[in-house]
Symmetry: C2
Subunit: 408 residues, 2 copies
């Protein structure tokens, strides 16, 4: 059961001038399933992406990186049901054939198309099925299809993930809308994380890349479900410039900061939605580590807590097993950590200080915090001034069930 | 259910001249449970240890390290039911009081006693109960109590772990006997890993320390159950020298290599027993990575596979989900890894090569290997000549159940 997450009202999702979305059923894994999405972008759109660091990255990731080097991107093609990963040279050829077919239908060069795949890995992509279904997807193209697109890219997701907001930059209104699927980015589930976010604001590719880097480092790169990193993770940010305004060239533009924080907030919302819908999740946890010497060490400690199967099973059980959290802090890899100075809170309850349980701590107060579906863990390392926050979910019977049973 | 592991026959465990073991019921957590072990060592015994790297190390670990610096060790006191970890200055005082009581009973200095605790953390150690039960444990002292000692130190273990062998060094016979409990060393379960191994061979402290370092790096430091590192892990190697022979001073002694390999083999057996009895384990996996540029990078890849919840749930399901293994190799952190050269075997079945599934691979052959209770995974990185092996177990419903319910 997703934690405090419901499907967005498709009618609430703002269309983004310059973006059209078309969905069709290609029958890649399940006959009749609407499993194919095509997005078309107005000429001149700036498109940037960040991708999985996994060395076994999927064929579409390799092609995306390649195509983003060159010509201006005009279309995206996304399938669910098959990840086209661990498929070697043959997988690359199939992803190329898919791009070529999209390009031919739209009168583009194949390099102007970005391919994305998610689903089972090590199986050949049935690209012929995609090619056959392409005309139907193109016929379906419309600016208002964001809700249907969010559904089309789901795999083990229980709830489609989409969000939207209006942006006023120097008095001009723009739309910012994004969709996502999956369960992570740095630590994603094999179901893969994909996200596509678009605005009609005009932004240079360089500025857009920097905004994406900033937003991802504070959103998708701050979540973990199970510590596994997928082969296909991709996050794409699009600025069509379809609404008339001067181009945002760099951070010196007064609109840059507003756009950056809007993109960051929207991506945090999508990233949290992925955790709330994490496989088997029954709880949503925010782990905030402060007082570190660097943001990196705060994140390291936060991830040690957020990844620990022992911590996550204790959260599933609503058991304030503080020792497991302290142990995770202890093995996070900060070799000169003075554990005597650390303080730990569950919600607003101080639970540990001076290397042990806080004298003021009462088990019933910890239990009260743990009983809620959303739990905040806060750690003060007391050795600096930096902060990092990570979001995660608990580890339940259903996590095992889903992953023991999921395949083809 | 432990995987191919049964309780040792206590009568088969060789006594080690110079070592006596006494067990008593202190009622630390469960009334009537035989939860207290005292070991006494002959004068002149060499004693060395390796301990958890966790910064939140427990009070007894701190004291052990301290006491091993100084006077010759003559006694060990081990309790189960409470880990005396995350207990700050008060925990240290209680561990000291326990050592002092043992020392007083045996007419030793407190610094000649090593304390060990395992069980729930963040709770005050009821050291008064230990002190009350000490006389009964001392009255019980006998050389033949290894089997009862293995039982006394258990926490969530289902099966006591002990093993033994005869050693002939230059025609002189010695005993080598060891016990262990818990689920890991580098990556142990919070139930903590403890191991005590003793021989009556005469060995210098320096040589013994080197033998221990070598043996642990190939045994307890090659296992993982859930990736969590305990606060209390300790492994102690004792050489009493109670059987007359020239002292083994260093590796130049022709007996050194035989002793080292016997200790290593015995510790591998104990370490594997811990994995076979891993919480919720239904399968035992050996992950061997070869062809690396260094042993460290082989181990890094092996651990990425062995720690992955997605791999471990697939093994639980007997599902040859090769993609999850390839993905784990891909995110192991070797940035210049050429995935096109990697080969992967399940048992003796080649499953992946050239960046994808091997053409010769048949799913039914993978499924046959996965159906067995013991599964060998082999990876060739094809970039060097080093090898590392790691042992782990699968991730089952029962792992979640045990850890969601275990406490106090």
């Amino acid at each position: 059961m997703p934690v405090n997450l419901s499907a967005p009202d498709p009618a609430s999702l703002l269309s983004v001038p310059g973006v059209e979305l078309g969905i069709a059923a290609a029958g890649i894994k399940t006959p009749g399933r609407r499993d194919l999405l095509v997005m078309t972008l107005a000429p001149g759109s700036a498109v940037v992406g960040v991708f999985t660091q996994n060395r076994f990255c999927a064929a579409p990731v390799t092609l995306c990186k390649d195509h983003l080097q060159g010509a201006s991107i005009r279309a995206l093609v996304v399938n669910t049901g098959n990840a086209n990963a661990g498929t070697g040279a043959d997988g690359l050829a199939r992803a190329r054939a898919t791009c070529a077919a999209v390009a031919e239908n739209l009168n583009l060069a194949p390099e102007q198309v970005l391919p994305f795949s998610t689903g089972v890995i090590l199986e050949p992509l049935p690209h012929d099925k995609i090619i056959v279904a392409l005309p139907a997807a193109l016929e379906n193209l419309a600016p208002a299809n964001w809700g249907a697109a969010a559904e089309a890219i789901m795999t083990t997701d229980l709830v489609p993930k989409a969000t939207t907001r209006k942006l006023a930059l120097n008095g001009v209104e723009f739309a910012l809308t994004g969709i996502a699927k999956g369960s992570g980015m740095i630590h994603p589930n094999m179901a893969t994380m994909l996200s596509f976010v678009a605005t009609d604001a005009p932004v240079s590719r360089e500025a857009l890349q920097e905004i994406l880097r900033h937003a991802v480092s504070r959103s998708f790169n701050c979540i973990t479900v199970d510590g596994d990193t997928s082969t296909n993770d991709s996050c794409i940010l699009i600025a069509t410039g379809a609404t008339e305004a001067p181009v945002i060239q760099d951070a010196a533009d007064s609109r840059y900061a507003s756009l950056q924080s809007a993109v960051t907030e929207l991506m945090i919302q999508l990233a949290q939605a992925i955790v709330r819908d994490g496989e088997g999740a029954t709880k949503f946890m925010e782990v905030r580590v402060e007082g570190g010497q660097s943001e990196a060490e705060c994140k390291q400690v936060a991830y040690a807590i957020a990844r620990s199967p022992l911590v996550k099973t204790a959260f599933f059980a609503s058991d304030p097993n503080l020792g497991r959290i302290l142990a995770a802090i202890g093995y996070a890899g900060i070799t000169d950590l003075d554990v005597g100075r650390i303080r730990l809170w569950l919600g607003n309850v101080l639970v540990a200080e001076n290397g042990g349980r806080a004298p003021s701590y009462r088990e019933e107060e910890g239990a009260r915090v743990m009983a809620a579906p959303e739990i905040a863990v806060r750690v003060d390392l007391a050795r600096g001034n930096t902060v990092a926050t990570v979001w995660t979910c608990d580890f339940s019977y259903d996590y095992v069930k889903i992953n023991a049973e999921y395949r083809s």
